[in-house]
């Protein structure tokens, strides 16, 4: 399957996947930062458990939408002191994110255009 087809066949994204990709759009983040960012972006509506977060991360890693980076970077958040792994969007992940946003824009435009006129 070429990349264009792969992008199209991946849509629509689940809410969890979309929020994770969105949180990684500005740059790499580790698991806890993704969790906090998603909660803030959704104004507290979407709160991941670690199971949901890492289940989605695993699938996105397997599909090469994101990659692990920053291995060996020390945990600055004092709690564990262990090297912390961060995640970064790949070029495929960026394309999927862009395609999903475009799909949503189309839907919104369609919904606005077909909205019944208020009398």
């Amino acid at each position: 399957m070429d990349q264009k087809n792969e992008v199209q066949s991946s849509l629509p994204l689940t809410e969890a996947t979309f929020f994770i990709l969105l949180s990684l759009a500005p740059g790499s983040k580790h698991g806890y930062a993704i969790m906090k960012e998603v909660s803030e972006m959704s104004r507290g509506r979407v709160a991941f458990s670690t199971g949901t977060l890492y289940g989605a991360i695993k699938r996105m890693l397997d599909q090469r939408w994101i990659e692990r980076t920053g291995e060996g970077e020390a945990d600055e958040a004092e709690e564990t002191g262990r090297p912390r792994k961060a995640y970064l969007l790949t070029s495929l992940g960026k394309k999927i994110m862009t395609a999903e946003v475009a799909r949503m824009q189309d839907l919104v435009q369609l919904a606005v255009a077909s909205r019944p006129q208020e009398t």
Binding site: Y32, T50, G51, G55, I57, K58, T80, R82
Partner: protein
């Protein structure tokens, strides 16, 4: 952190790690440490706002865990693996149980064999009804041979596993002979019983004489082949009663399905068509075979032991 919140934190971490252990090994090896770290960070941050919010993090993890754990277990295994694991567990439990209960083992083996045989008999009946307008008698013949052959195999495994091939032959031929013999006898004595529905208790009893007689003849033939004249009468009676019970189950399950799954049209006899036909014929046949086998298996074992 005071002593009380320290203890609560330790307990919460232990509970979380216990939940984490339920994830598949591969997933845990890849993300377990990270997940644990993230949970500890989230718990510590919420704990600054009080124990209630911190407990909320743990509760959310526990509530989400069943779905997440099940999803990861399914994702780590192909359907074949899952079936294999389920089969392995079933065999792991059923094996020792059956070994310690020989009657149960004989019942299971026989029920499985007769169940398969009668299911195939049902399949040939469906094919005959669907494609042959009831004219493909050879299909009916092969169905009867299948039912008898598989049943014979099950009984052979219980009575004398070294001669199971012979039992298959005796079973197939015996079942066919029993059917033909009882059919002729029955039509001679009760000429209209096969073509008219039972309207009274007498009609019903006459209807049940058919499987009783057929089971007795089948039991007699199998018994003659294996028991060398000893204990044949009890085995023959067991065969008759077991086939009668199976026949009753067949009719009862068909009637229940017709009553509850596809109710009869007002004043008419239900006539299942298409896909329903499969269900109406195959399920009662399967149940008939399973019950017949489940009853006949222990009787075969008992007769074999008593005759030696």
């Amino acid at each position: 952190m005071d002593g009380q919140s320290g203890t609560r934190t330790i307990v919460a971490h232990k509970v979380y790690r216990a939940v984490l252990r339920l994830y598949p090994t591969g997933f845990r090896g890849r993300f377990g440490q990270e997940m644990s770290d993230v949970f500890e960070q989230a718990f510590a941050e919420r704990l600054r706002r009080g124990f209630g919010p911190a407990l909320g993090v743990l509760v959310q993890e526990i509530l989400d865990a069943p779905g997440c754990i099940a999803r990861e277990h399914i994702a780590e295994r192909s359907p074949g693996d899952a079936a294999g694991i389920a089969g392995g567990y079933a065999a792991g439990y059923a094996g020792p149980l059956a070994a310690s209960h020989p009657r149960l083992w004989s019942s299971l083996v026989s029920a499985l064999a007769f169940g398969v045989g009668f299911f195939l008999l049902g399949v040939t009946d469906v094919l005959r009804e669907t494609y042959g307008n009831g004219e493909l008698e050879r299909l009916g013949l092969s169905g009867i041979l299948c039912a008898g052959g598989f049943g014979g195999l099950g009984l052979g495994l219980i009575m004398d596993a070294r001669k199971k091939g012979l039992f298959v032959l005796w079973g197939a031929v015996g079942f066919l002979f029993a059917q033909v013999f009882i059919n002729c006898l029955y039509e001679g004595i009760f000429p209209n019983a096969m073509s008219t529905p039972a309207m009274s208790l007498q009609d019903l009893l006459i209807a049940f004489l058919y499987p009783l007689g057929m089971g007795c003849v089948f039991g007699l033939i199998i018994g003659a082949a294996s028991l060398r004249g000893k204990c044949m009468l009890p085995f023959m009676v067991s065969g008759g009663l077991a086939l009668m019970a199976g026949f009753f189950t067949n009719r009862l399950s068909a009637a229940l399905m017709q009553s509850y799954l596809l109710p009869a049209p007002a004043g008419g006899i239900p006539s299942p068509e298409g896909g329903w036909l499969l269900l109406y014929i195959l399920v009662p046949y399967l149940l008939e075979g399973v019950l017949l086998g489940a009853l006949l298996g222990p009787a075969a074992r008992r007769s074999t032991f008593a005759s030696t």
